[in-house]
């Protein structure tokens, strides 16, 4: 996938993410985030710093346009940007980066890709919910929120992975 193609898709996803945050608040236990999957789907030829910068910008724009606190999504998404390399190395092996393959269900298999998306979303949710609560909410509430939001967001991230799939191009 070309960089321009990826950026265009990311901007589209940003709009969807902002709409989800502003107009689709189903429950206090559920917050849907598709951005962690987008960071995972970044073409593998780019290094960690590129992923960090992109995560920071995407997080900042989401914070800016969504009804939330500035810095909250940025903080969680930057952590995903940093962990991306480790997650992909853990699931697909070190040689995955040498091959320079992009993330897609057809090339890497459905479940391995979903596992990578799940881990990234879980990390994102842990930081997001923890910082959002600021020590004022009980642990069980945070745990339920993290679990529910991670599971639903991971399931919906199938759309994100398909959107960023190189086959779509």
């Amino acid at each position: 996938m070309t960089d321009a193609g990826y950026i265009l898709r990311l901007l589209l996803l940003l709009v969807i993410q902002v709409l989800l945050l502003n107009f689709f608040n189903f429950s206090q236990y559920l917050t849907i985030f598709l951005l962690p999957a987008a960071i995972i789907c970044l073409p593998v030829r780019h290094d960690g710093i590129y992923a960090l910068v992109l995560a920071f910008i995407a997080g900042f724009l989401t914070d800016f346009f969504a009804d939330g606190m500035l810095g909250l999504v940025t903080c969680a998404l930057v952590a995903v940007g940093y962990a991306r390399t480790w997650i992909l190395r853990f699931i697909f092996g070190a040689e995955f980066f040498a091959r320079g393959e992009d993330i897609s269900f057809r090339r890497l298999g459905f479940w391995p890709v979903m596992l990578a998306v799940f881990l990234a979303t879980l990390l994102f949710m842990l930081i997001y919910v923890w910082a959002d609560g600021a020590g004022t909410r009980p642990l069980w509430f945070n745990a339920v929120r993290v679990l529910l939001s991670t599971l639903v967001s991971t399931a919906l991230s199938v759309f994100t992975v398909n959107l960023f799939s190189p086959e779509r191009q």
């Binding site: 290094d47 710093i49 910068v53 606190m69 500035l70 810095g71 903080c75 940007g81 940093y82 020590g135």
Partner: protein, 276 residues
């Protein structure tokens, strides 16, 4: 990619990550009061942890200095106590019509080397003739008798410990009991026995054994050991086994006991020997 370049990239990525996280947290802190308080509390907790860790590390490294200061303080306190005791003794002697003389002199010292696993154990301490130490001075600690100085250099002294089969200390059972020489049993680290006890004497178990003061090496009433039991030696005499009060394995600081009248007593003894 070679290892050096890979490590460099890893460090750079981590640095950029920290920088961006700090920027994000600053944004978060400015945008919400609740998050601001929470982050402040969190940073204070981290700072407190850092300070306490640094303080405990500093404390750990200054322990030696603290110990030495404590040893010096202990020595001064013990010396003061001894002086009072000695004054009491002299007063008592004067009341009984005896002209009491000769306060003992005490010099603090640190053990440089000490052997514990031979039949003739020795000790080397960091005080010598420059500090006023003479041969045949006593070595004591807060737990009791340690040994006797044998040879003196300018800055160091060599002595025999109580765990040396050549050393014998004049001892008394209780404050006013039987006087007998105490020697190490030559086997265990904390055992000895009182020699030449007449068979008719009964020595109760658990009595404290003190220095008798009958030699010019140690002042009287320094605790040495505790009696354990009595055993027959050769039909003519008995031996009383004792547990030494001094734990030689944990010894570090000692005090040298110097008798100012030692030379005079030695001279008298010499004259007596020559007459005989």
């Amino acid at each position: 990619m070679d290892k050096g370049k890979e490590a460099g990239t890893l460090i750079l990525t981590a640095a950029v990550f920290i920088l961006m996280e700090v920027a994000a947290l600053m944004l978060l802190s400015r945008s919400s009061t609740l998050q601001n308080i929470w982050l402040n509390r969190f940073s204070h907790r981290i700072m407190a942890l850092n300070w306490s860790t640094a303080e405990s590390i500093r404390g750990h490294f200054s322990l030696r200095e603290e110990n030495e200061q404590l040893a010096r303080d202990n020595f001064l306190l013990r010396e003061e106590l001894r002086r009072y005791r000695e004054q009491d003794r002299l007063l008592e002697e004067e009341e009984n019509g005896v002209n009491g003389k000769g306060l003992f002199k005490y010099i603090p010292a640190t053990i440089v080397k000490m052997s514990r696993n031979s039949l003739h154990n020795y000790i080397i301490i960091d005080k010598g003739s420059d500090d006023g130490v003479h041969p045949h001075s006593g070595i004591i600690s807060r737990n009791g008798v340690v040994g006797v100085v044998q040879a003196v250099g300018k800055r160091y002294s060599y002595g025999l410990t109580l765990m040396n089969s050549f050393l014998s200390v004049s001892a008394r059972v209780g404050r006013d009991g039987l006087v007998a020489p105490l020697v190490w049993d030559g086997v265990s680290t904390g055992r000895g026995y009182l020699k030449g006890i007449p068979p008719h004497m009964e020595i109760p178990q658990g009595d404290t054994v003190y220095t008798s003061g009958f030699s010019f090496v140690f002042p009287p009433d320094i605790p040495i050991a505790v009696t354990r039991g009595i055993s027959e030696v050769d039909g003519a005499t008995n031996a009383v086994s004792v547990t030494l009060l001094q734990d030689f394995s944990s010894l570090r600081y000692v005090t040298i006991v110097e008798n100012p009248s030692r030379a005079e007593i030695a001279e008298l003894e010499k004259e007596r020997e020559e007459e005989q």
